[in-house]
């Protein structure tokens, strides 16, 4: 069985930052593995550990810098990694969902996995759509917002028996046929830390870089329908009354508020 995990390097923003045009200035950005994808990687590695002969392949769309992120997936147990990049992709300011799905679909068609795991959303652009769009592009089944997966059924019966986390503390129990794309919610497992040995081994693993040409795609395929026209810090609507002073003074004022509200006795 083959499991393909899509991972994304996301930019995280420092508390104080400045915007230049329609971008946050580079000096205020750090890069990390998308939180949701970390859970997807763990789920893939757990499938490999539970089954015989399960290969886990991590795939990302990203510039050379993102190799650091995909090596995290390798360090945690993915067997191989594929990175898709091209100057034509670099030129696009905000990749739309269709483009991401097209690029990943080309890799999936090459790899022919039984299961694709992706994070429900990415913390930077928060589209929350790549997994389902990818499934539809491929003609795969899918499930979004998966917070439990029956590993044995996947391995033994070829069915993804999942729980989908609905709003308000309700879970939906659903079976989907394989091949399928499962969009993984945080909390489905406990992502492992990469071991030192794993990190060392990951450094020596080759990352297969695929260009548009390699994937039999052209620059037209990555033309985005989206154009970011403005970026700004949301106006604060705060009318909070701030409790000032040192920690002791703040605590004292806070205690007074709680007593006034009648929720704590004298």
């Amino acid at each position: 069985m083959k499991v393909l995990v899509t991972v994304k390097e996301v930019a995280t923003v420092e508390d104080d930052f400045e915007i230049s045009g329609t971008e946050i200035e580079e000096t205020y950005l750090d890069y990390d593995l998308n939180e949701w994808d970390d859970y997807a990687v763990e789920e893939g590695v757990q499938l490999a550990e539970a089954g015989d002969d399960v290969e886990v392949v991590a795939v990302t769309i990203g510039p050379e810098r993102s190799e650091e992120t995909i090596r995290m997936a390798l360090a945690k147990g993915a067997d191989r990694a594929v990175r898709v990049w091209d100057d034509a992709i670099d030129d696009v300011e905000l990749l739309d969902v269709e483009t991401k799905a097209e690029l990943l679909a080309a890799v999936v068609e090459d790899e022919d996995p039984d299961v694709v795991l992706s994070g429900v959303q990415a913390n930077d652009d928060s589209f929350g759509a790549t997994g389902v769009a990818l499934a539809e592009t491929l003609g795969f089944e899918w499930a979004a917002v998966v917070n439990a997966l029956d590993t044995e059924k996947v391995l033994d019966e070829g069915v993804a028996s999942v729980r989908r986390e609905l709003e308000g503390g309700v879970e939906e129990l659903t079976d989907v046929e394989l091949p399928a794309v499962l969009a993984i919610q945080t909390g489905i497992n406990e992502p492992r830390y990469a071991s030192l040995r794993g990190i060392r081994q990951a450094q020596s693993k080759e990352i297969d870089v695929q260009s548009l040409d390699d994937l039999a795609l052209g620059a037209d395929d990555v033309a985005s329908d989206l154009d970011v026209t403005a970026m700004y810090e949301p106006e604060t609507e705060s009318d909070a009354q701030y409790l000032e002073g040192d920690a002791g003074e703040q605590a004292s004022a806070l205690a007074e508020v709680l007593r006034e509200k009648g929720v704590v006795g004298e």
């Binding site: 923003v13 389902v132 709003e167 503390g169 989907v176 026209t229 949301p234 909070a240």
Partner: protein, 324 residues
């Protein structure tokens, strides 16, 4: 004329509130595009749902009577068929868990641009401008989507629900569902994390978030809870980490709470969390980041390090802070 098709959300016999918010967003778009507002409801008791969706500003309600509950394969087929029949400029669904599970497939199948989680929509001269948040709500962006028709999902709580009743035409829409293409089966539902404590009933919630950093540090907040007689709740990451059980989670995927006082400690205030606690009478936030979104909805703000403020607060109520 450019019409709008909105698709309602329902679960276990009830339309969800976002469905009525969607009618407002849909009507605004229809006005901007000089078109009609069509609402669709798929599966369940569609006739009863259609009557409820017949609210002010709705021109037509379409019912697809197939199955009881949400199934994304059926929804995708039904909404695609409706869009092909009505040819609307916009297909709009809630950015709900179910919206996430079929709207991208609809956009892909129709070959339309897709933009999710809109907090604002403007349409003029054939261009749709969508307001969205990025980087965990730290920035807002406007994104122009050229060349419709479009598929858009809207964030819950951003548009007021339509209240007044309407005079829409209600009609059944027959979809010849391809059973072979229905390859997912919903087996049932389960309430999770019942537990012995119902945070939905508490008058005073002390709620903890990512700012607590380590599981060991929970002892600090537990001491505050003991000293004040509060009930302990949390944001999602604490439950994801397995530090507290699911029945303590406040938010979109957890519990909706309405206490007299909600004391949010080390919680940044992500939109999914706020959805669960904005109904509190008084919201107090303790956070060391003065720009944390939680302060936007707080009545009282304490900008400070929780590891200094919470021990001092415990002492205020005669408790003894543990060393963490």
């Amino acid at each position: 004329m450019s019409d709008v098709l909105v698709v309602a959300d329902h679960r276990r016999g009830d339309l969800r509130d976002v469905s009525f918010e969607l009618l407002t967003a849909g009507r605004e778009l229809a006005d901007a595009a000089d078109g009609d507002l069509h609402a669709a409801v798929v599966s369940g008791n569609v006739e009863e749902f259609a009557e409820e969706l017949n609210r002010e500003g709705v021109d037509q309600v379409h019912t697809v009577d197939y199955g009881e509950e949400f199934n994304h394969d059926v929804y995708t087929q039904a909404v695609v068929a409706l869009a092909e029949e009505l040819d609307p400029e916009f297909v709009v669904t809630p950015n709900s868990v179910n919206g996430l599970d079929y709207a991208p497939a609809v956009a892909t199948r129709l070959g339309r641009p897709y933009v999710s989680d809109a907090t604002g929509l403007d349409y003029a001269d054939g261009t749709l401008e969508v307001t969205r948040e990025m980087y965990g709500s730290k920035v807002e962006t406007t994104v122009d989507v050229a060349e419709g028709p479009f598929v858009v999902t809207t964030r819950g709580g951003e548009w007021p629900p339509v209240e007044g009743s309407g005079d829409a035409e209600i009609s059944a829409f027959d979809v010849d569902v391809d059973e072979d293409a229905v390859r997912s089966t919903v087996k049932g539902f389960e309430e999770v994390g019942g537990g012995d404590v119902d945070i939905g009933e508490a008058d005073f919630l002390v709620s903890i978030g990512r700012g607590i950093e380590e599981e060991e540090n929970l002892a600090l907040v537990e001491e505050l809870v003991d000293a004040t007689g509060a009930t302990l709740s949390s944001s999602r990451p604490i439950v994801d980490n397995g530090w507290l059980p699911k029945n303590r989670q406040v938010g979109q995927s957890g519990k909706q709470v309405t206490p007299d006082v909600y004391l949010a400690i080390g919680i940044s205030g992500a939109v999914q969390h706020v959805a669960g606690m904005k109904g509190a009478d008084t919201i107090i936030a303790v956070n060391n980041d003065p720009n944390a979104p939680i302060f936007d909805i707080a009545d009282y703000g304490v900008v400070g390090d929780l590891f200094d403020v919470v021990p001092a607060l415990i002492e205020e109520f005669g408790g003894e802070p543990p060393s963490v």
